[in-house]
Symmetry: C3
Subunit: 452 residues, 3 copies
């Protein structure tokens, strides 16, 4: 970001660095112990924590609701779970880590030999200290996850396994928060909230979305922002199914996940690849000074796979740091409170804010003086002693904006073409409007419409 | 090729490696001694050998037939030729190598001094052991080709030259073999058969086309295949001229030449550059594991220069190993039975088969469940324990095919975009059709039509 | 350039190298002492020197004329200027260098202390020997420029400053020279003439344009050439304003500046980026054998910023060697007669000539024999002994021209696609027209029209 970045200066006034970074991290600390899954009370507790920051609505969708090819599943809740040895010692205790239980495990209480038990145990031989995270949402099973080291200490014995869970008619719970803008065009911000004690994936995304929403709710926006806090996959499918008539309002969107680790930024493009959100994300990351990578869309990952399914093909990208599956701690107990850092959370929030600002402020203007340059000097907009090297960034920015404000180039296009920071381009455009050298184009080029 | 490559597995069952490689080579051994030119009995003998493998029709086009700007030339046949020294010894003998005579030499019987003789002798000073291959089809001349070393031994003497040839009204002979497919859309496979004892150029192409045709004739195909065994240039011009009304049936085509040497593969794109045959060839070569190079069209080379002349602009590329003129043995006696190897012939046949399969199986499908992903798990199409790394190629392939089967992406497009092997994509598409998640698009995107 | 480059051979006959190089340099020597600005007698003297070479018309536009957002300024003339110390010695004397006076300085005669004087002095601390070039056209000021070294010797004293200038109603003067071609489509050649004793910027451009015009006036051209010798910025704005109805005749254009230094060539593309002038310049520079760089359009620099303002968007690029601001001598007294060399001026003239030739000779042709190749041999256009390596550039060029003369590819397109020199392609096309194998396409693809 350059010094000209007025929006980010404003942002930093409202959300100063260290303080905000700590608050983002603290929210994660509070959410960390909760046992979340794709349904159940863990989600309700999580949303209730978020409500202490932003006034999200909590939605409850009954088990059995048809959502496209899927059905809202039974609600899963768990009270306790353990494996006891013949001495009655808990060798595995759900209370020590909610990762110990295969998510969506059916209730069980039974004695088994070590051999019988083995079929229900998941470990990570390559990382013998870590507990894996495993789920079985759509196949009724039970199981335990533990470290390979702990598993190796288990001796031949009679074990008592107990999973005190309930899998029954209930609801799928998600949170939604809409901040009205000047137009009904929407920017969607979506994060998944279904993982238990895993920090980067995706308590980091939840925290970023929460603080981002808090900021958006305090400023004036062109776009309406819709924040979704949903269980992965089934949550986005459910939302899309129940809100199908309104889906076309979504003109831009980001799925937020994995934003607290130290890795470089990644932006995964929307399926379209040339959507405005793709352009804005590329542009902002390029000027961010942070290491980053832009990757093409691929049809697996987070909820962008649903938003970008061919029947919707929404302009939704995915924003994060190290991508899922590309760090060994992913989906293990090592994705813990030490794995993420406040400073990275805040950096991610800043970049995300800059992307949203770029989208929200991207406009087409018409040069009111398109034949030859206007005389900037007489308006006090230009250096008065000529002959020296033209080098002042702001003056160059003015020339770029004037020359390319022909109705075919948006401010982002001009930033891309000139290589100058979007905020500088935007600031100069505002100045030129003030001096009546530029007018906003009456009709916007409809880039946000669905394409083939 | 990956293990999933069912078509190639089937192919290899019908045409097992070592056995087929030997047979391909043996056909070349039989054809090698025949003295071929652009007309004459050598062509008839050659086609008659090929008929032992596939039932080609032999066509005879009379001398004088107008074919566009050209005229079918007189038929050339040769019985014997030699240069005798004053002792009556044959210092050059056509029977030792049919390369010794300038192809299309007019009959001559004459005594000459060494000096007079020189004007009619062709050698290769840079490769003093090799005999060059030279022709004079359209200018009535006579001449001899010999090694530079042999030429250097010729002393001042009275030489008797004799070329016992006939250049007279007759026919241009070519072979054609059509294998009907389910549609009238054609894939053209063309090779030139006019070179005398030269192995890579183009007995290798003749052998590949023969065995490829044999395979195609035994399987069921979407496309109709047309195999042409023609003299170079005049043959393709003649065929195009006599079959002009049917030319538009050709939707894809390959000229096959130089496929028996050890060099890396080359695919020369059609003039269009973006034809389906270009896409398929690039795709298959990329996944073949073989070193290869894709080159742009240029208007010289083999018969693609006629197929791709601007009045036809057919989607015909050229497939081979080391391109013509890029190996020193090209058009010399060193392009002999040692220069080519059975294993390279078979490798070339495999790649060629894979390209044809890709074309023949390239389809557009419609995802029957385009809004969000279908639930693959309930259909047994997906791993049931989630949370682990998604890494299974086949499952990813399913997601790619589902997401991009929107009527705008063919299977080749999806293979290109995903980086996954075409045969894997194709196999998965078949599976999804079986599970009613995919339907073939009723109308095909008309990519095969002529373009500007 | 290849030996086939007939046009350049002709050019070199008329304008032989050493001789022309010297003449170009001599013109600069004569123009060097004149004190030019954006108006005034210096311009008249300059144009009068140029008139000794080519019959340009001199235009006089009155002060106060409205030209778009600008107004033709008062005319500035200067007789003398100096700074005298208390001993009456001229420590700065305009007669020693016309760079000593801030261009457009208002008249002044006054005594000042060193401290008061300082505010009116411009130096270059980084290059203490050089005098900077500074202007104040649109803000009424006075000032002196001097070397930092000289400035450092000035002691506390009472100084008498005198600028004997007049800034009053008068005219803006420019030169125009039109060479009629066979069509009314125009090629614009524009150079600025407003700088005082600065050689590369832009006496070099003036000299090149003069000799280029002299050549153009002696040959027959398809296009009408318009040469403008104008003061920078206000000159092009004035011309565009007064000639607005005729601007659309300009189909191609070059701004010429900085063509006498030893640096590599630079071509700055037009705002469109894909105009024919862009293609021709890229093509010619690629084949020129000279180091060069193609840069995208940016909206500052020379008069192309006016020609390429969005209301005109003319296909005008900028041709030169080292770009403005990228050499330390730029806009200083070091841009003198030693900084430029005759040989570089002539090289630049040659490249510029080749670009103009490419534009003037770029055509679309129709192959009269588009189905298969024509038989070149029977027309004596092809080597008669086949079988050897096809390697003759001219024969390949014939095949390229024939294959791509389908009405969609211009000769420049064919040169680009084949990688063969434009002059070779053009020569071969002429030959094929002569042999009735090619006809000029009746209608030209209208590439020169304004685009969005």
């Amino acid at each position: 970001m350059t010094a000209e970045s007025m929006n980010l200066i404003e942002f930093k006034k409202m959300f100063p660095g260290e303080d905000t970074a700590e608050k983002m991290y603290k929210l994660i600390e509070r959410l960390y112990p909760i046992c979340r899954s794709i349904t159940g009370n863990g989600l309700r507790e999580t949303l209730s924590e978020i409500q202490k920051h932003i006034p999200i609505s909590v939605k409850e969708i009954p088990t059995g609701t048809k959502v496209f090819d899927w059905t809202v599943p039974k609600e899963w809740n768990i009270n306790d779970a353990y494996i006891k040895n013949s001495k009655g010692e808990r060798v595995i205790d759900f209370k020590a880590s909610n990762l110990h239980v295969l998510s969506y495990s059916i209730p069980i209480q039974k004695k088994l030999s070590l051999n019988e038990l083995k079929d229900h145990i998941y470990t990570l031989p390559d990382h013998p200290d870590w507990i894996p995270y495993r789920t079985s949402y759509y196949d009724e099973k039970w199981g335990f996850c533990m470290s390979q080291n702990q598993f190796s200490t288990l001796k031949e014995d009679d074990y008592e396994v107990c999973i005190d869970s309930r899998l029954e008619e209930g609801h799928l719970t998600y949170g939604e928060y809409v901040v009205q803008g000047r137009t009904r065009d929407e920017i969607l911000i979506s994060c998944h909230i279904c993982h238990p004690s895993l920090c980067n994936d995706n308590l980091s995304g939840i925290s970023l979305a929460t603080f981002f929403a808090k900021y958006i709710s305090r400023i004036s926006n062109e776009h309406t922002y819709r924040f979704l806090f949903i269980p992965g996959t089934i949550g986005s499918i459910t939302w899309l199914s129940l809100n199908e008539p309104d889906v076309s309002k979504i003109k831009h969107g980001l799925v937020i996940a994995g934003v607290g680790d130290s890795g470089k930024f990644h932006y995964k493009s929307s399926r379209r690849g040339d959507a405005e959100i793709d352009q804005a994300s590329r542009n902002v990351l390029k000027h961010s000074g942070h290491e980053h990578e832009i990757v093409d869309f691929f049809p697996y990952g987070y909820d962008e796979r649903q938003y970008c399914s061919p029947g919707f093909n929404l302009p939704v990208g995915c924003f994060g740091r190290t991508p899922h599956g590309q760090y060994p701690e992913y989906h293990t107990s090592a994705d813990n409170l030490e794995f993420i850092r406040p400073v990275y959370l805040y950096e991610s929030l800043l970049v995300c804010t800059a992307i949203a600002h770029a989208i929200d402020n991207n406009r087409y203007y018409m040069n009111q003086n398109p034949k030859c340059e206007p005389l900037l000097g007489k308006r006090g907009l230009y250096d008065k002693i000529g002959g020296g090297n033209e080098g002042q960034e702001k003056q160059l920015a003015m020339l770029w904006v004037l020359n390319f404000s022909d109705g075919n180039h948006s401010l982002l296009d001009i930033s891309d073409r000139s290589g100058l920071d979007f905020e500088l381009i935007k600031g100069v455009a505002d100045l030129l409007v003030e001096y009546q050298l530029l007018n906003r184009k009456s009709e916007r080029i409809p880039r946000g419409l669905p394409r083939g």
